[in-house]
Symmetry: C2
């Protein structure tokens, strides 16, 4: 079945969770709501018409390294050209470099659509955005002039080269080298692994951003510099010049995202690749974190995207497949399985989880927009902190949901789900990378607890939880019978989050290992509470707009999520606050025994 962009759901989340009308009113978003919707609808068409049909065949064919050249699946090159021609790459980019300057909230909505339609394809522009962001923020005027217009248009996609075989999560130990040259350039040598779209023939050039060390660099993360290394050198007139000393040595054989070429890249096998410093020497990691932070939110959106796609596919199957007789089925006839109670539970879970994760991601995008475009410096700073707080939640919660929903999608298909031709299994495979790349979800949880909770001495998170609590109280105070126990469950969930947060505050000072032990369930609790509240704000908006009554789907999903998923919040709090000690009862040697 064909993917259809959930335009109404996205617009609803933008309005009720991300507060789009307010963003427009205050000038943070400079286009009107109709324009936003039109952009998302057009993106949806490109996703459905161009990207979605390539998704299954691309998975089957995979990208291949043939005689030193990376061959992407049939149709990939034309699709990428269509993407560039449609101006989609330029959507969120700075207007100074030819971009359209659309806000993050719109960019992330489009990002969801590309990745729902075709996760392997969506990765290419996703990483290009991060590279553009890094160059725009820290690159020299010349680098910007030469590279950004072509990257913004999508003609020259970008890559991120961090990982080395021995340096995955721990970048401090990377070994790639950069030697200063008399002409101000550098010569880069080293091997990088897991480089997404590290090589291909989709475009005339590829712009690699590469972390490496100068000979006199201090050890650890303070001795890492960032370099721009083009696949082809660029002549003074902007035309394509000589091949640079960088090659794709091999492609990985992966569980999923087969069409996305994951390359081992060799720099400087013939003496050194020409590189240009981005930012200052030895400050590369800061710039890279800038790229990674943007990419982390986008990966969270990929989690939403795969969940949305898996849900659509499962629903289509559940409407079509008939087995047994449901409570409203006729005697002697089989009912579509979507009428069966346990399938209905599964689909309610898939939809509500997907929508909760989407809301969290779009709210994070909203905060980034405010941080970039608000006029009040205090508002900008507060939004930047809130975006920093929410980014690990957006990344990790949404990508965990991506796997859970994709797995439920397989389950709904029964035996057919296990057959590759059905398509459900691809989502389950593709989704599995999302909690790993751009910082594993374990690292996101640690980032949340150790770096984000202490922001502004704890005020960032306190203020945030206070706002969540006010919504929970509003739901409760409304005494709306349509809301069932939503108010009670959300109140309990946010209270549990507040208690766990206080516990973390103490633990960080007195029992840091205990705080780390609880980081994963804490992030989950955060996601359930925040997601539940965003869905509830949607439900409140429906009531305010006089659209409730009957069984409004927004209210139904918000209530279901609160009563069936946010209901686990108290248990998670107990896990965090009393489960840490037992995590460490076994020393690593005993744990391995």
């Amino acid at each position: 079945m064909t993917y259809r962009a959930p335009v109404d759901d996205i617009m609803f989340a933008l309005r009720t969770a991300a507060g789009l009308p307010g963003l427009i009113e205050t000038g943070v978003v400079s286009v009107d709501e109709e324009t936003v919707r039109a952009v998302i609808e057009e993106a949806g068409k490109f996703g459905s018409d161009v990207l979605d049909p390539l998704n299954g065949p691309g998975d089957k064919a995979g990208s291949k390294l043939v005689n030193g050249r990376v061959e992407t699946p049939a149709g990939w090159k034309a699709a990428y050209q269509g993407f560039v021609d449609g101006g989609w790459g330029a959507l969120p980019c700075p207007e100074a470099h030819g971009g359209q300057g659309l806000p993050e909230v719109v960019s992330m909505a489009a990002c969801e659509i590309w990745n729902s339609a075709n996760l392997s394809f969506g990765l290419c522009p996703l990483l290009t955005q991060g590279a553009i962001h890094a160059i725009d923020t820290h690159g020299s005027a010349e680098l910007k002039r030469i590279y950004l217009p072509k990257m913004v248009s999508g003609h020259w996609p970008g890559t991120m080269n961090l990982t080395e075989p021995h340096a995955g999560s721990d970048l401090g130990v990377l070994r790639s080298k950069a030697e200063r040259q008399a002409d101000g350039t550098y010569r880069i040598t080293g091997t990088k692994i897991f480089i997404t779209y590290g090589d291909h023939e989709l475009t005339e050039n590829i712009i690699h951003l590469v972390l490496a060390r100068l000979p006199d660099a201090p050890p650890g993360t303070r001795g890492i510099s960032l370099f721009l290394v083009p696949k082809y050198l660029v002549n003074a007139d902007g035309s394509i010049g000589a091949r640079n000393d960088v090659v794709c040595a091999s492609l990985e054989h992966k569980l999923g995202i087969h069409a996305s070429p994951t390359a081992v890249m060799k720099y400087g096998e013939a003496g050194g690749a020409v590189g240009y410093l981005v930012g200052e020497e030895n400050r590369g990691l800061n710039t890279m974190f800038l790229m990674m932070n943007a990419a982390r939110l986008a990966v969270g959106v990929q989690g939403v995207a795969i969940a949305e796609r898996a849900t659509q596919r499962a629903i289509a199957y559940a409407q079509d497949r008939k087995q047994g007789r449901s409570s409203r089925g006729k005697a002697g006839e089989m009912s579509p399985i979507i009428e069966h109670a346990d399938t209905r539970r599964n689909i309610m879970t898939m939809k509500s989880m997907t929508q909760a994760a989407r809301a969290i991601c779009l709210v994070t995008a909203r905060e980034l927009d405010i941080a970039h475009h608000a006029t009040d410096p205090a508002a900008k700073a507060a939004a930047a902190n809130r975006a920093a707080l929410l980014t690990p939640v957006a990344k990790a919660f949404s990508t965990d949901i991506g796997i859970e929903v994709a797995s439920l999608g397989v389950q709904i298909h029964g035996g057919m789900g296990f057959i590759e031709e059905t398509g459900a299994a691809q989502h389950y495979r593709d989704a599995r990378i999302l909690p790993i790349y751009e910082g594993t979800n374990g690292i996101q949880a640690i980032d949340l607890v150790t770096r984000k909770l202490p922001l502004e001495g704890g005020t960032t998170v306190e203020t945030y939880i206070g706002e969540l609590l006010r919504t929970a109280e509003e739901v409760r105070a409304s005494n709306n019978p349509e809301f069932g126990r939503m108010g009670e469950r959300l109140s309990d969930a946010v209270t549990a989050l507040a208690e766990a947060t206080r516990w973390m505050g103490t633990a960080l000072a007195k029992n840091p290992e205990g705080a780390l032990a609880g980081a994963q369930p804490y992030l989950r609790l955060f996601g359930l509470a925040a997601g539940g509240i965003y869905l509830a704000r949607g439900a409140l908006a429906v009531v305010r707009d006089g659209q409730s009554g009957g069984s409004n789907p927004r209210i139904a999903l918000a209530r279901f999520f609160a009563e069936n998923h946010a209901a686990l919040a108290g248990g998670l709090r107990d896990t965090i606050t009393t489960g840490a000690e037992s995590t460490f009862l076994l020393e690593p040697e005993a744990l391995a025994g």
Copy 2:
């Protein structure tokens, strides 16, 4: 890394959860503990030496249909021959037919080992056991005489042929036909799908058990008969005769278990396959349920098996892989990731979940042994009911755990987990079939709630929960500081299970759809409470044996499980008792919208 059978863990679960010493004392198990251990150790050697080395290569090669013949991966045939020669197939079979008559508790322990070492291989004997059981219970004396000795030895493996393209979970609508012949045999025609080991060249014959309808059969499940259909007819002297009219039309291209051939089988393309009635006409489903019930427990054990294998692989990687510095790491050196808090949490979760699921499966096997071999009729009946109660929990809880643990295993490997060569991804793929086949986990949950809770007017489950509660109280009353909050959490968990069970009792009468909506979380709650109690019984046994103090791994894992996983029980109860209504707020049409 090589799989090593967890002999100590299995023996510990057999002793403390399944009560092996008592079973031996009462004569239910007729061999002594040393023999049990020796058998499990020998099985472990066969698993490690023969089956495990074929697992990765078998996944890569897969089984293939070449010129109408199914080719299993290299080494498969010799391994199967070794399995037969070792007498492993005969292990649990009736002695009357050449079996060793070992009890279910030992059989399931061995089953875990085959499936940890090689899930694709383990399926072949698993299904043969079900077929043997059906023939032994309902087959004629002649069928038993001709087929059982060869099946028991493993020379002629068995298959189960239930599913048709339009009849998956709903067997009532199957269309395969059986025509009575003058000689008392039947002619079978029809197409069966998803037939595990439906065809191969491992053995000289294959014995298919096939569900089909007689021309005058009543509609629905009361018109289904069971037939034995050999691939090759068997001459009067027991030698192999003519090829029967059954062929493998194709093999499925699956997400996992690539080495296990999943066949589309065509019966009667040349006039009708010769079949022999097993049991009575139109009573085939009852016999098939007998097979399926045995197979359901074995599939639960497969969940334990894949979880165990994934855990072993993840631990080996976590000991080897160095990243960052742990709290006990030396300055300037990277630490093995097994020292990091979040990896420790993940491994504690993997180990404790695996052991909880193993205990539930072995307890179920214990009840089957008592049901078969006890002398007191009342004890037999009670055990049969308890086995019936626990079977859906063993199947569904353990296979859900299988997926969750395999997914954590990928996560611990980071980027390497997504690379197929690492091996972690295979477990994640293989595990995905387990919640689907032999009755989806949704169907298990419905079976638990609608057919098992009402057993003996609810007494079966009440008595069972009462026993769980006594253990929880014993833990609590012990006031052992090593137990942390284990007593409190388990008390709460079992109480939550009791409350949810009472709610289900009322709902089944007054709100059956609500009961169905809560069936999945109810089964999960049941598994967490029961699993937590079994681990606690192990911890109590350790204390009784004077082996506590320091940090005993049994106590540590029991406590961790209670404080970190059973802690979610209260939330699950709330989901069951107050979340059903919102599951149905959206009619199927709105749900699909």
